[in-house]
Amino acid sequence: MDAIRSRLLFFDGAMGTQLQEAGIAPGELPELWNLERPEAVRTIHERYLAAGCDLVTTNTFGANRLKLGERLAPAVEAAVSLARAAADAAGGKPRFVALDLGPSGRLLEPLGTMAFEEAVALFAETVRIGTAAGQCDCVLIETMGDLYEAKAAVLAAKETCDLPVFCTMTFDENGKTLTGGSAAAAVAVLEGLGVDCVGLNCGLGPAQAADVFAELRTFASVPIMIQPNAGMPAVRDGKTVYGVQPAEFAAHMADFARTGARMLGGCCGTTPAHIAALVRACEGIAPAPLTRKEDTLVASYAKCVSIGGAPVLIGERINPTGKKALKEALRADDLGLILREAALQDDRGAQILDVNVGLPGIDETAMLTRAVREIQSVTDLPLQLDSADAGALAAAMRIYNGKPMVNSVNGKAEVMRAVFPHVKKYGGVVVGLCLDEGGIPETPEGRLAIARRIVETAAQYGIARKDIVIDALTLTVSAEAREAFRTLDALSLIKRELGVKTVLGVSNVSFGLPRREFVNASFLTLALRAGLDAPILDPCSEEMLRAVRTFGVLSGTDAQCAVYIGAYADAAGPAAAPSPQPAAGTLYEIVVKGMRELAAPAAEEELKTKAPLEIIETVLIPALDAVGQGYESGRLFLPQLIMSAETVKNAFAVLREHMKGSGAAAAPQGRILLATVKGDIHDIGKNIVKVLLENYGFEVIDLGRDVPPQAIVETARREGIRLVGLSALMTTTVASMQETIEALRAAGLTQCCVVVGGAVLTQDYAERIGADFYARDAMETVRIAKRLF
């Protein structure tokens, strides 16, 4: 397949449309025709080959175990044989067979219920069967609407066979994939995974595909493939038709060929006539030369950030070092605080988020992968995976949805050996620290030498310079007076000599000094002038943001000073939290009115005259009871109930701090396990129940959504749980509820009671499935818990 480097290659057209012409019914599985109507499939291949295509794609678009079950292997083997036989018989020029993989038909977590590794295994099985006989020349992963699923498929192909892997995605008229990814993000992720060609197929006609094609061309270093539909679908006489005729189709495609497309074909609505016209129109067109793009791209599933233009802000707040609250949250296995920090930094303008969950005594691999998954369900910012544990980094890189920044490697041979292979396999922009076995060099030249070694070693692994960002290391200026300028000199030198992008955590510089933010902000300004591309900073710090914005003005990168003016033109200054209105009243009133932002100051006020436990018993609980009654009597409604619950939660945070200080912690009323059962991913209701239970002093262990019965049983047993709350919102998942209850009984957990809730349940049904209690709503759950404990 070296052909792809040197000439244009033509793919076949639509298989689906041709099968419909041959009489396939809607809903009938095309892959089964490989077994039941092989001559029809072979004929279609032959027609496309006669039209002049170089590659035929096997009729395996939807071939996976979920759809075909036991017939998967025979169907795929037959598909490959048919394509191979047709290709071999075609003559004229070498013909190739591409093993075709389409989407699995399921959405991956967290949007759906399929786990990433499940998807990888699913695709790997099809690739294994399809390539076993050595009859395929490449693997084509196409019509992907979700970058995460594309990643799963590419990894599956690369881990299962050695064939070239091509991947094309489907974009809509806004230039985005179904799950919101841009073409730039697609290129970043797919090239990072090592595909041999990227592109687009389906979704758009040739005219509509121009913009996406242009974006692909801007960023892609590998050859580009384009397989549009024969126009946009229209409904005529109840049938879906694609109106672009072969001549028009071919004219557009020839344009694409002249401007950089290497592999051309057609998708829905295209016929052998379209392909024949395409081949003819492209005769004599020399393939445009491939150019290596040097952009340093980091991506999430949606956003792509390019490092090297305006400064890229990396939010540093998710790091337990020096943060007591974060450490406690991690030890308690509670990601809530981390997720709020992620959302907060996103709101404040961070462009990439650093994620560090390293803490002695916890399983960092498990915690980092879990944190990455959860954070990616809350923000679409790209992440910087930050760990000293190569195993944790590797695991996180694997399941990360996008192309991450990887923090870090350094000059030590064993560290580079441990980390580089994973960066190569999964793709990523790796941060290189200028330290090695000998420590941190004092001179800029010393740091340059380590940086050079990192870049050269990376090259041995096939990692390009554009995917390396060097950290010249910020040390503490109060410890060594010349540290600050030394770092800046090193940074400039490294950037000039090696042509790499640079990153720096600025906060270290001010350690031990008062008003650290002043020093940090000035250092940041100097560093930006010295060539810093990506500062790691606290985006919640006004000082830091001010330094970034003023630099934008002074460096001329803020066009018309628009950003600066937008931020500061309002004479009243930056938006601060609204000052609490003193007339809001007592803590009781604030809870009843659900004024969440006023909870903390009001709680502080109460603490002046009352003990925390007294406040809970005489203020918070009665207020909650009043709101609960109001809700049940139809005077108050759900949003108010939740606002009051969140107000209590905020007040509790203050009281807990106080209680820790005085050593008088309140023992929980009881411990309750909550979960949304297997196969169900609704969780708003469960979360409302959780907040209310915690308000009333219960400790809640929340296992999340789509939880298998065994996980619930194991946790219940291990923690000696006496009350399990199960949530299910569909008639189909109520069965999982029953299964879970039976598993608990079978495990002999006799002291464990089960309360069930969810829109489809009734008292009747709850009894039938063996539950002990049925809770109509969140307040009912609280009452049941109070009665039980």
Partner: protein
């Protein structure tokens, strides 16, 4: 398309009560976010090969064992399969608020339920307009989960409209539509007035116990 606030309030359990100021403000915020959603999509496909049987009706060669569906479609020469979704972006909004602002999450959940129904209503209104010249009018839409139309029919309905490929709408092994704020439905096209007996709440078998009834 503007979010229907009254419907949002209904899904929040307000019935016809007026919301307090802050809930109102939250609804307004959600409305703005929904109206800017980039991933609202739908696909429709019409079929004229309807075959009735004692168990139900087959549309486009796919048999559905639902007598209520058969009733809804009785007298129709054509049926339209409609699949619509607010897309992944809507799910991500909810996921974010569940973690960062639970009150807003509850309001957003209700708002999204209202919005996807509006999207479907708009498609039905469009069908009405498009088929009026032929003397045809659409029946109320009928979805898996209504009456005896089983949820397990989702995959077939999605396949009929080619929804996974066209709009990225799939379903889990428990027949949960993903992305979640989505609707699949069959709509009959009939000459004369639809005979199935009226809209929504009036014909729903849960109307006695439901907290979210329109009246």
């Amino acid at each position: 398309m503007q979010l229907d606030r009254a419907e949002t309030l209904r899904y929040l359990g307000y019935g016809t009560h007026a919301p307090d100021e802050r809930t109102d403000a939250l609804i307004a915020e959600c409305a703005k976010e929904l109206e800017a959603l980039p991933t609202v999509r739908h696909v429709e496909r019409s079929f004229s090969d309807l075959v009735w049987s004692p168990e139900g009706v087959s549309v486009g060669g796919a048999s559905f064992a639902s007598r209520r569906l058969a009733e809804t479609l009785s007298g129709c020469g054509q049926a339209v399969v409609l699949c619509a979704t607010l897309g992944a972006a809507a799910d991500r909004l909810r996921m974010r608020y569940i973690r960062t602002d639970l009150t807003k999450a509850a309001v957003m959940d209700a708002a999204q339920s209202a919005y996807i129904e509006q999207v479907c209503d708009a498609v039905c209104a469009d069908l009405r307009q498009r088929y009026a010249p032929q003397g045809l009018s659409p029946t109320p839409r009928f979805s898996p989960g209504y009456g005896d139309f089983a949820l397990s029919e989702q995959p077939m309905l999605l396949a009929l409209a080619n929804a996974p490929r066209r709009i990225g709408l799939t379903c889990s092994e428990t027949f949960l539509l993903t992305p979640q704020k989505s609707v699949t439905a069959i709509i009959g096209l009939t000459r004369g007035t639809p005979t199935c007996g009226g809209e929504r709440c009036a014909v729903c078998e849960h109307r006695e116990l439901c907290r979210f009834r329109r009246t």
